[in-house]
């Protein structure tokens, strides 16, 4: 029994750590570029992808990835034409969520665990899921690592980037793809509703302690890892939902960080 529990915890922890590694640095970009709602819209679109994938009996991961990418590219294109981002995101994000739920409720003969989809099912990840999660997370990390300076310059100022021969649109595209991959691999861990939280909260918590972008990305990664471990432990201990427990742990860190900042400022 103890061995079973251990391997269960181990698999869940490995899955959570994989997502945390990608969520730290990517989440920092999400914060710097004010893409929090963008991340939510992308995640909500994934639910529609999952629904269609189940209906077509294809890979759920592939369905989520395709839908998330389509949404991310769609939003990028619409907002680049000068529409109000806030409104576009609000319309697309909630429409995708509602449409996804409608499609799922229409499906007969298949029982979909809606709660797992919305809030994660990290405790039942299997070895193939782990491979997918780590593969996706490492791909995102490699992408961010190899383009770090370009992404950072384009984030700081699109004009300065352009003057240095960097095309901000291209960098935005890479971030968009990284976000879609992260969403697709994170569904199992925290569910579509809480992916945005795992991206934004650790990065926001790291901000007061960072003097450079790299320190903030590292701090966000450590924070995300800590939140995953604490959340999972709490989930095992108190028999609570793992995904929300992880996000609550992250939120507690944010409160702590804000308190430290307030004390420092005083």
């Amino acid at each position: 029994m103890s061995l079973l529990l251990d391997s269960l915890f181990l698999r869940a922890a490995l899955a959570g750590l994989g997502v945390a590694l990608a969520a730290g640095p990517l989440g920092s970009f999400v914060v710097w570029r004010r893409m929090a709602y963008f991340g939510d819209a992308t995640a909500h679109a994934a639910i529609l992808g999952v629904a269609i994938a189940i209906a077509l009996e294809v890979s759920v991961f592939a369905g989520a990835l395709v839908a998330a990418t389509a949404m991310a590219l769609g939003v990028s294109t619409l907002t680049a034409r000068g529409r109000s981002t806030d409104t576009v995101l609000g319309v697309l994000s909630h429409s995708a969520l509602a449409l996804g739920m409608v499609v799922i409720s229409l499906m007969t003969g298949v029982r979909v665990d809606v709660q797992a989809l919305l809030f994660g099912e990290i405790l039942i990840v299997q070895a193939p899921d782990l491979a997918l999660i780590w593969g996706g997370a490492l791909a995102v990390l490699a992408l961010l690592w190899s383009r770090w300076t370009r992404l950072l310059t384009a984030t700081l100022s699109p004009e300065l980037a352009q003057a240095s021969g960097i095309t901000p649109r291209v960098e935005q595209l890479f971030l968009t793809l990284a976000l879609a991959v992260t969403v697709a691999v994170a569904i199992k861990v925290v569910g579509v509703l809480l992916i945005g939280a795992l991206l934004v909260i650790p990065a926001a918590s790291a901000r007061p302690f960072a003097a450079t972008p790299e320190q903030m990305a590292l701090g966000a990664t450590l924070g995300a890892v800590g939140a995953v471990l604490i959340g999972l432990a709490a989930s095992f201990q108190f028999d609570i939902l793992a995904g929300p427990a992880v996000v609550c742990a992250a939120a507690a860190m944010f409160v702590l960080s804000a308190l430290v900042q307030a004390v420092r400022a005083a």
């Binding site: 914060v31 950072l152 300065l160 352009q162 960072a210 003097a211 450079t212 972008p213």
Partner: protein, 251 residues
């Protein structure tokens, strides 16, 4: 002379309105060119088109192959969520050795600011740091968009001196938008007067006497130009302080 950028028949639209049309422009190695013009005349738009931030709606734009541009924007919209030290900023996008970074800060008149956060700098300090970063790219062309906006009189003339030094030491061309008309007149090889199109251009004195220019800038500028002529004609008779003083009197 080699042209760094050549634009022919350039037009730029913002949505439905055309901000610039029929602009023919070129800048050569080592040249200092200043763009003057009233608000909304398309000065910044022209700079952004030359850099590649704005796509021209018609016309052709040719940049010399491998052209390196150092750009100092009108202002930098810093997001408070992005931590950034001055030193780290100088590394974007080209990693810079510590000694070179120190030298660039020194040259731009902001030595010792390396550890400070960009968001903690005053407007003038930030402008200087951006100049330092632009110089570190070893640019063929330095583009400055009202770069002295946040600076007082002394700071501005100091800033222009740094730019002159950069041209002297590195041979880079300088293209700037400026409202400091008397400084413009003194420092530029060529002035372009812009108001939706190029009204007139040429040597500073030539432009200042053009009717199109007078129509836009009126008599205030004439006064500045008279002072410029005065200072210029008698340069060898005056020491540096007198020169400064006459500029201040033009305000």
């Amino acid at each position: 002379m080699t042209d760094l950028i050549t634009a022919t028949g350039l037009a730029i639209r913002h949505g439905r309105s055309e901000v610039l049309h029929g602009v023919n422009f070129r800048i050569s190695r080592g040249e200092i060119v200043t763009i003057v013009g009233p608000n909304g005349s398309g000065k910044s738009s022209l700079l952004k088109a030359l850099i590649g931030v704005l796509q021209p709606s018609s016309g052709t734009l040719k940049r010399a192959p491998g052209l390196r541009i150092g750009y100092v924007p009108q202002q930098l919209a810093l997001d408070p969520t992005l931590p950034m030290t001055v030193r780290r900023f100088l590394d974007l996008p080209y990693p810079t050795p510590a000694a070179a970074a120190e030298a660039a800060l020194e040259q731009a008149g902001c030595a010792g600011l390396g550890k400070r956060q960009l968001s903690d700098l005053s407007g003038g300090q930030l402008q200087r740091v951006m100049l330092a970063r632009a110089l570190l790219a070893s640019p063929d062309l330095l583009i400055l968009d009202e770069a002295t906006q946040g600076l007082d009189q002394r700071g501005a003339s100091d800033f222009y001196r740094r730019i002159e030094e950069a041209r002297r030491d590195r041979g880079c061309a300088v293209l700037m938008v400026s409202h400091d008309l008397h400084v413009v007149m003194a420092a530029s090889d060529r002035v372009i007067c812009l108001n939706g199109h190029i009204c007139c251009e040429g040597h500073p004195e030539q432009v200042a006497s053009a009717p199109e220019y007078r129509a836009l800038f009126g008599t205030g500028t004439q006064g500045a130009l008279a002072l410029y002529r005065h200072a210029h004609d008698h340069d060898h008779d005056h020491d540096h302080d007198d020169h400064d003083h006459s500029h201040e009197a033009a305000e």
